[in-house]
């Protein structure tokens, strides 16, 4: 018989057929692959033997096969008969078995098990997923802003080579100094670190002849400007040599946006003549939509670089570094070039000494564009990172305490043959699944949050159009999720892998955490408190700064003031007299509008960009040779300006109509200026002059003193300010300031009407209320504070939950001990004290570490603080007190539970 089974027998059927038949029938049992293979081998061999026997007896192959299959299925399903035998034996694949199957099968198993576990504990799952969703959502949102504003490459060729540079003069209190064209030409021709560089100056044009007159942001740029960025025009060409003629603005380039808006995207725009400030200018090219330099410029005209001009330090510079040149290398090259030039031109730089090097700041263009948002963004992304760490510590603790409850489950699985590694993998799968669910929900949060952020007023966050959920942001979210899963999943997984079978299987084991797990939980609580303190202290400092900022007296009253900008276009308004006559008529007419209390003009309204400055010296206080002159802000204003701004005259008088062009020159100074030059003297009657002014009537007599006015921002340190009568020094572009008795916006159309009545080709632009200006100047701070406060609140809530959980579990594990103590006469107070002590120890350790950490971290906040030291003791005290209070309250609940332990019940158990 055995011979008949030999493989060499010609009637041998294909054994794989039988194996397949068997395997199909066993599939529903889901056996471990190895076991299934054994069974199939044995049963297939049987069928094979039977088949061969039938064939030997003379049955046809088909009949023999039919008989064998009938016998196989004639007694009911094979699987159902085998189920009890092979399943219950414990040798089949339950979760306990060491990994035998493929990784994919194991993963499937782990995931389905994890899903079941999550479903069994919906509350726990919800808390974890929600905590993570908020954390990951916040992190993703802020990262997408960081990515768009700080990280995403600028849309120019090799953007990492693009830098801006400018001088700086701390001794003159000037953070940034632009260059004169003579100096720029020298640098451009001598410097070796740059492929090319360009100079530009921002200003604005009024376009007429295409409907209502409109004011457009513009820039005058040197011929190389577009070449520096490596951007080709969409239509037409850029400027060519010879177009930088003195009679400027003959040719112009326009932005994509302006082309669409004003010319409907008509490609015949190239060659068309537009009127800029009334002068004809031929459009030679249209730039592509992504080109946005500088700022919001929509028209570019050629800049004439005069190598002999040194009087206007007003050019900004941008350059492309040669490949391989570092920022520091480029900066040193610039310094050497400027030094060499200054020493060779004693006529322009008489005070230059060989060992006195030029002070130059050079930074990547992308950083320049991010501007003031850079620090707050970095602070926020760090804060959200800290918050995520706290959340992870919290979740790790939750998992640890649940692991304690699940100790027996783990032990049973170990007994069934699960390797520690297998159990750890299973737990990590659960963590990964929780993190994944949190991330999915978090991304939804991020989408919603980004929608809100996009609603912010334009111009608050640069490159806002670049902020979106792109692949890099998604990659970040995935990375953060993975790190979170590891952070909160690793500790419980490692603990579970070292599960102690004996103790855990013993009856009466209460599901309390082992000593090691408890220590780990304690560490997490300490970490949470430490990190929370850092966040609380940081946000406390910012909140206090903000409060200080709001209480700053800006030197004006913002309510009921309307601000609007006007420009008398040159050369249609060819001289100061024409300009004055235009503005006088505007002022006269606006003053007649019902509800207008006061109206004035200034070349720069507070909280707008730009700040005209001069080297003003006081008579008898001239700086000694080599000593720097302190620079003053200079504003040429009309008599109504102080009234319109609500600025009181502290001493003397304001300007009058009689301070005309031919009257004696007079000035009003602010108290900072008065204190600086005449700390113990009367400022009134003193005389001032511009450094270097040698004209006949160069003295300005001080006739009044006003409070310091915050010009660039509420947080700026008070600068020296000098006011002069507009009639004695005229500018073409002015801000109209109107104080009204009613809602200021209701005046806009009336004011527009009056301006148009004086000159229909002059538009009113940049119209807003002073209150809007103030609030928009605070918006970034408000946002930063709001977010940071939210993070800090979330942090200490999480810390509270964390310590509550740990103490609760501690109390649950010590019920018997408390019972005994109470039975032996311990009073409630003693027990309460015992429990609270543990909590206070943990919180205290965290707070001490947090205080040390905070003193190190707050230094990064310094540039955001106002009127508060980074080591502000009250803030730290309050933060500490808040956390101690939180800890005590969180511990009080389980502590009271401990005092209510009934000794009789506990001891009987």
């Amino acid at each position: 018989m055995r011979d008949a089974t030999s493989d060499s027998d010609p009637r041998n059927s294909n054994q794989h057929d039988w194996r397949t038949e068997i395997a199909e029938r066993l599939a529903s049992l889901r056996l471990a692959p190895e076991q299934e293979a054994d069974l199939a081998d044995e049963l297939a061999q049987h069928l094979e033997d039977r088949f061969r026997e039938l064939r030997i007896r003379g049955e046809s192959e088909g009949d023999a096969r039919r008989v064998v299959l009938e016998e196989l299925d004639g007694e009911g399903s094979l699987a159902s008969r085998l189920r009890d035998v092979v399943r219950r034996g414990g040798s089949t694949a339950t979760l306990g078995t060491p990994a035998r199957g493929s990784l994919a099968a194991q993963l499937r198993q782990d995931i389905s098990y994890a899903v079941r576990t999550m479903r069994r504990t919906p509350g726990f799952t919800a808390v974890v997923v929600l905590t993570l969703a908020l954390g990951i959502g916040a992190a993703t949102t802020i990262f997408s802003v960081v990515n768009g504003v700080l990280l995403r490459p600028l849309p120019y060729r090799d953007p990492q080579q693009l830098v801006v540079f400018f001088g700086t003069s701390p001794e003159k209190q000037l953070a940034e100094v632009s260059f004169p064209s003579g100096l720029f030409v020298a640098i451009r021709d001598k410097s070796r670190a740059f492929t090319n560089m360009a100079a530009f100056e921002s200003f604005g044009f009024t376009i007429t002849g295409t409907g209502d007159p409109v004011r457009i942001d513009a820039a005058t740029v040197s011929l190389d400007f577009f070449r520096v960025f490596g951007t080709q025009p969409l239509l037409g060409r850029t400027f060519v040599a010879g177009e930088d003629t003195p009679d400027d603005n003959r040719v112009s380039m326009i932005s994509y946006g302006l082309w669409q808006r004003m010319f409907g995207g008509d490609s015949s725009v190239v060659g068309r003549v537009i009127r800029l400030n009334g002068n004809p200018s031929t459009v030679v090219g249209v730039m592509p939509p992504e080109f946005a330099m500088p700022d919001h410029a929509e028209i570019w005209v050629p800049l004439r670089l005069d190598p002999t001009r040194f009087n206007c330090w007003c050019l900004d510079m941008v350059g492309r570094m040669k490949p391989g040149v570092t920022e520091e290398g480029a900066r040193r090259d610039l310094i050497a070039t400027v030094d060499a030039f200054a020493l060779s031109r004693r006529d322009v730089f008489p005070d230059k000494k060989p060992d006195d090097h030029a002070k130059i700041i050079l930074m990547p263009l992308v950083q320049r564009i991010a501007g003031d948002t850079r620090t707050p963004l970095l602070v926020l992304i760090s804060a959200v990172g800290v918050l995520l760490l706290i959340a992870c510590a919290n979740i790790a603790n939750l998992l640890l305490s649940r692991a304690a409850v699940r100790n027996r489950e783990m032990a049973v699985r170990c007994c069934l043959g699960a390797s520690p590694r297998r159990i750890a993998t299973q737990l990590l799968t659960e963590s990964a699944l929780l993190a994944g669910a949190g991330a999915a929900l978090g991304l939804l949060f991020a989408v919603a949050a980004l929608k809100l952020i996009r609603r912010l007023p334009e111009g608050q966050i640069p490159r806002m159009d670049q902020v979106r959920l792109d692949p890099i942001v998604l990659l970040f979210a995935v990375g953060v999720t993975a790190v979170c899963a590891l952070l909160f999943g690793l500790a419980p997984a490692l603990r579970a892998a070292r599960v102690d079978l004996q103790t855990n299987l013993k009856d009466g084991s209460r599901g309390s955490a082992s000593g090691g797990a408890r220590r780990l939980s304690n560490v997490f609580v300490v970490v949470q408190f430490a990190l929370s303190l850092v966040l609380l202290a940081g946000s406390g400092l910012l909140l206090k700064s903000f409060k200080r900022l709001l209480s700053v007296n800006p030197g004006f009253r913002a309510e009921n003031v309307l601000v609007a900008r006007l420009q008398a276009p040159y050369p249609r308004y060819g001289d100061a007299k024409m300009v004055r006559s235009f503005y006088d008529r505007v002022l006269e007419r606006v003053a007649t509008i019902p509800g207008v209390r006061a109206v004035g003009l200034t070349p720069r309204a507070p909280l707008t960009r730009g700040n005209p400055q001069n080297n003003v010296v006081a008579e008898g206080k001239e700086p000694k040779p080599g000593e720097p002159v302190v620079v003053s802000n200079v504003r040429n204003i009309t008599p109504g300006y102080f009234d319109a701004m609500g600025t009181p005259i502290l001493k003397g008088r304001g300007f009058r109509a009689s301070d005309g062009p031919d009257a004696p020159r007079v000035a009003v100074v602010d108290e900072t200026f008065a204190r600086h030059y005449w700390p113990n003297e009367e400022a009134l009657g003193k005389r001032l002059t511009d450094q270097g002014d040698t004209s006949a009537n160069h003295w300005w007599t001080v006739v009044g003193v006003v409070p310091n006015m915050r010009h660039a921002s509420l947080g700026e340190s008070p600068s020296l300010q000098v006011y002069r009568p507009y009639a004695q020094q005229t500018s073409w572009t002015m801000y109209l300031m109107v104080r009204s008795a009613r809602e200021p916006r209701s005046l806009i159309s009336a004011i527009r009407g009056h301006v148009a009545a004086v000159d229909p080709e002059i538009p009113l632009y940049e119209v807003r209320t002073m209150e809007e200006a103030v609030s928009s100047s605070l918006l970034t701070r408000r946002l930063t504070n709001g977010l940071l406060t939210a993070f800090a609140t979330a942090a200490f809530v999480l810390a509270a939950i964390g310590i509550y959980g740990v103490i609760s579990i501690g109390v649950a594990g010590r019920t018997r001990e408390f019972g005994v103590r109470i039975a032996l006469g311990a009073r409630s107070a003693n027990v309460l004290h015992l429990v609270l002590q543990q909590g206070v120890w943990l919180a205290g350790a965290g707070i001490v570490i947090g205080l040390l950490g905070a003193t190190w971290v707050v230094r990064f906040l310094r540039s955001l603080l106002f009127g508060v030291s980074a080591f502000d003791v009250p803030t730290f005290v309050v933060a500490t007190a808040v956390l101690v209070l939180v800890a005590v309250v969180a511990c009080l609940i389980p502590a009271r539970r401990a005092t209510r332990v009934a000794p009789a019940v506990v001891l009987r158990e």
Partner: protein, 114 residues
């Protein structure tokens, strides 16, 4: 029909005894066992795959028999079952019970032991 019923009833009560007896003196594989039962009962009792192997596994799980893979040159591997010490005790007890049962039936029905 009657044959089938007898078959089922007898198998239920006696199957364990049959298997244990057949592996008492030498290890046998599954097909061999089914052939032996078939031939020695003259075809009255038949075990096919779906009934034989669950039974074998159950006996093995109880520790009465023990299966072992044996590979011989030129053949596929086969699983041979042998009686364990525990199985030997069970077999003795079952034989005793079976004999008492058959004798009791015989006394009542007058059917003589073959």
């Amino acid at each position: 029909m009657v044959q089938a019923m007898l078959d089922r009833e007898l198998k239920k009560g006696s199957a364990e005894l049959l298997i244990l007896s057949l592996v008492e003196h030498e290890p046998r594989h599954g097909y061999e066992l089914s052939k032996l039962i078939d031939s020695r009962s003259n075809g009255a009792i038949r075990f096919h795959v779906a009934s034989l192997y669950p039974l074998l596994y159950r006996l093995e799980k109880r520790g009465w028999i023990e299966g072992r893979w044996v590979e011989k040159a030129g053949q596929r591997r086969r699983r041979y079952y042998r009686l364990t010490a525990e199985g030997r005790r069970v077999l003795a007890a079952q034989r005793r019970n079976w004999r008492q049962f058959v004798e009791a039936i015989a006394r009542i029905t007058g059917v003589q032991h073959a």
